[in-house]
């Protein structure tokens, strides 16, 4: 497969002329022709837009609006929270009718916080005037800020906030790689985008190149996208300031559109398992992202619509549709002519890595590139899994050079340490192994499950570590207090025992006091007290009293 690259226009990038290959991969039936030849259709404005606050990797955006508030098209309605996050904008004008949890595109059918806008159909723009800028005069930092404020994330599917990935001067970037390799079957939104808006993409590429100050730039395109390639070539030729963008064709092998795989194909180098392309001086961006960057910087428009491939035999009119973010998938399905009667499965994303959803009442997000409605004929119910016969076909096709059957064995038996030892977390979940498995084992499902279990276990480990630390701290504190008290007591005891004379003094004092009390009591018994210095009248009263007492005594005696 080591064939030489077909480079067009100005091939200064001599070092990238030879293509390399990654291990494994699959040649899959394309199914892209269903929609790749039809122009992108604009979806009608839906009555309601449901804008999730989290459409990217990182922290969810924080809502800036209240229910009942009027919003304009492009108004910031969710600000980014933290370093790795992205903001969201109102895709159209209208009234906020709810800020609440709604079903979002998610493998488990989860609900997540969304801002719901009842559209008014006016498409009112904000009054704020954004001056048009000449980006060639802006610094990389300023460009990154513009990209951030437009809420741009990687539109290829992962949804990593673009400004974070660009790094704003944090990395020393040698190569900017524009990914136009749409390797999953059925998906053709990037293909159409290139065919129709190649000039926008080239402009976006220039901006990105300036933002990361990359020495060179390659646009990599799959070798079965001839029309898209021609469009890019034309745009490159017409592009005035094009000096250093090369166009390279890569063989159509799934998953060559994966970032790590594509970098391997073009440079022969592997992104370190725990590292990022930026560590190697490479930044990879999707063509859709490049077009969005052009809109953000040149037209000063935030990321509001995206192109979604609506395809599969389960749809009456499959096609690529440009829809506002927040548009319900059901609305797009209606635009695509509705479902055929025998539709059975709705897949969000491609047929290899996408997830099947139970309901189409979910909004388009920044990363939703495809909604695939298929019939049972097209994708039959998978046959029941049989025991693994260790045939090794999975190993043959694994683009991460893993041993999928061993991983399956360990994941199946919940031997998570061994699974990690066999590099479970290097699995990119591309699905090649499960696709070729003659025993029809849902391998990817096992790996996802094992990964989740490991995450849960690590979280529990962290919290139990914390609890243990607290418990140990408490024990040592109690121990310390006990010891301190014991030390104090001992000291006191020692002090008391060491001073005998003081003890005798005390005894003597007590005895003296007792003596005094005794003496006092004797005196009080023998003589009447308080009889000195009496007045004659008092003496008279006393004498009278004594006489009466004597008289009474005599009366009693007689």
């Amino acid at each position: 497969m080591n064939r030489s690259a077909t480079s067009f226009s100005r091939p200064q990038l001599s070092s990238f002329k030879t293509l390399h290959h990654f291990h494994g991969g699959l040649k899959l039936p394309g199914h892209r022709e269903i929609t790749a030849s039809m122009p992108i259709r604009q979806a009608e404005l839906p009555p309601q837009l449901i804008v999730p606050l989290q459409q990217h990797i990182g922290a969810a955006a924080v809502s800036l609006v209240q229910v009942g508030e009027q919003v304009c098209k492009g108004q910031l309605i969710g600000r980014q929270a933290g370093a790795i996050s992205a903001c969201v904008h109102a895709p159209s004008s209208g009234v906020i009718s709810a800020v609440e949890d709604r079903p979002v595109p998610h493998p488990s059918g989860l609900q997540a916080p969304c801002i719901v806008i009842d559209t008014d159909g006016m498409e009112r723009d904000s009054d704020e005037q954004y001056p048009l800028l000449d980006y060639t005069r802006l610094t990389p930092d300023a460009l990154c800020k513009l990209i951030r404020d437009a809420g741009i994330v990687g539109l290829g599917g992962a949804g990593f906030p673009t400004q974070v990935k660009l790094g704003c001067g944090k990395y020393d970037i040698k190569l900017l790689l524009i990914n136009a390799v749409e390797c999953e079957p059925y998906i053709a939104c990037d293909n159409r985008l290139i065919q129709e808006r190649a000039a926008d993409i080239i402009s976006g590429v220039h901006i990105l190149q300036r933002a990361v100050e990359a020495e060179s730039c390659i646009i990599a395109i799959e070798d079965d996208m001839a029309q898209a390639e021609a469009a890019l070539q034309t745009a490159l030729q017409q592009d005035g300031n094009n000096t250093d963008i090369a166009l390279t064709r890569v063989p159509e092998i799934y998953p060559s559109g994966g970032e790590r795989q594509l970098i391997k194909v073009l440079t022969g180098e592997e992104v370190p398992s725990q590292g990022f392309p930026a560590d190697m001086g490479i930044i990879c961006q999707n063509v859709g992202t490049a077009a969005a960057v052009h809109n953000a910087v040149v037209k000063r428009q935030p990321l509001l619509p995206r192109i979604v491939t609506l395809t599969g035999n389960g749809l009456v009119q499959p096609q690529n549709i440009e829809a506002l973010i927040g548009t319900p998938v059901s609305h797009l399905v209606a635009t695509a002519g509705g479902y055929c009667s025998d539709v059975e499965r709705l897949i969000i994303g491609g047929p290899m890595m996408g997830y099947a959803v139970t309901d189409d009442n979910i909004p388009v997000t920044k990363t939703l590139n495809c909604a695939l409605a298929v019939t049972a004929d097209e994708m039959p119910v998978p046959p029941p899994a049989q025991p693994c016969i260790r045939c090794g076909k999975c190993t043959e096709v694994c683009p991460a050079d893993l041993l999928p059957q061993q991983l399956y064995w360990y994941a199946h038996s919940s031997n998570l340490d061994a699974a990690q030892d066999y590099s479970l977390f290097d699995c990119i979940e591309c699905g090649c192994c499960a696709y070729v498995c003659p025993s029809h084992i849902p391998l990817v499902q096992y790996y996802r499950h094992a990964k989740t279990e490991i995450w849960v276990r690590e979280k529990q480990l962290q919290s139990s570590d914390l609890a243990r630390q607290r418990h140990e701290a408490r024990l040592s504190r109690l121990d310390r207090i006990k010891q301190e008290r014991a030390a104090r007591m001992a000291k006191k005891k020692l002090a008391l025992a060491g001073d005998d004379s003081r003890k005798d003094n005390k005894k003597a004092a007590i005895e003296a006091a007792l003596e005094r009390v005794k003496r006092k009591k004797q005196q009080a018994d023998s003589t009447p007290g308080n009889t000195d210095n009496l007045t004659p009248a008092q003496q008279q009263l006393i004498d009278d009293a004594d006489r009466r007492r004597r008289q009474q005594q005599e009366d009693r005696n007689s």
């Binding site: 899959l28 590292g275 897949i347 139970t358 695939l372 190993t395 893993l402 059957q405 498995c437 990817v444």
Partner: protein, 338 residues
Amino acid sequence: MEFKTYSSPHLPVADSVRSMMQRVLLALLPGIICFSWLFGAGVIINLLLAGITALFAEALVLWLRKRPLATLTDYSALLTGVLLGLALPPLAPWWVPVIGSLFAIVIAKQLYGGLGYNPFNPAMAGYVVLLISFPLELTLWSAPATAPGIIDTLLYSFTGQLPTGDALDALTMATPMDAIKTRLGLSETLSELQGSPLYGSFAGAGWEWINLWFLIGGLWLLQLRVIQWQIPTGVLAGLAATAFVFYAYNPDAYSPPLFQLFSGAAMLGAFFIATDPVSACTTPRGRLYYGLGIGILTYVIRTWGGYPDGIAFAVLLMNMAAPTIDHYTRPRVFGQGN
């Protein structure tokens, strides 16, 4: 509306165990035809007895284990029976394939947990049990193309009744490999033996063609990617290289590599037996070592061992080593250092 959900990937499956086993059985056909053409109806009787017993035994154990009988249709039990049947001499009495097949399926396969869980190649385990228990019956090879007719063979197989006027000794003869080994040991030179009827065009008489057809079937499997190149290449390279070393050292005392490659069960072993995925290594590099080990051991057992062919013992010995080899031959993961 409520859609059905399944785990990714969603594209329809590309292959099945059943169709893989089917293709292996198909690939065996040319060799089987050649084998039975040279050695007569006994080959087919062995295959039928071993195959039917294997299916019956598998069904019985599945029923006892309360497992779905549908797994019978994956052809894995039938393949085990067929491979065992191919290893047996055509004049073996009927109970030889039956006992071998029962042992292979019930003990070597199902008692370990059934398909996918057996550490040893079931067909070879069954064969080795027969070889150790009934050494005499396992030498009942006829000379190529002199086999008795189908009626006589059936009669002999089930009743032990020899065709009238024949002695057992007259019907059977040692395989070329065995004979050449014995006679090289009696200090005849290889060049003398090469002139004898034991020697065909380039290897053991008759056997060279059987091996050639198994080779062709095996190459077809490689092309279909049902098997991968590492194990067959390893086996054949290990066998040929070891044979070459000794042949180069003393060409009169040791048989040449080509003879080794096209005699006995070399091709059947390399492409169909050693490649049993369940009991073999699974890492790409490990499979090469595993194959090399089988090739070298086969030569050693063939040349200095007490048994006529070494494939079965070599395979079982390497089965034992497979987990260890796998452990030490893990591929370098993408993006990780060496």
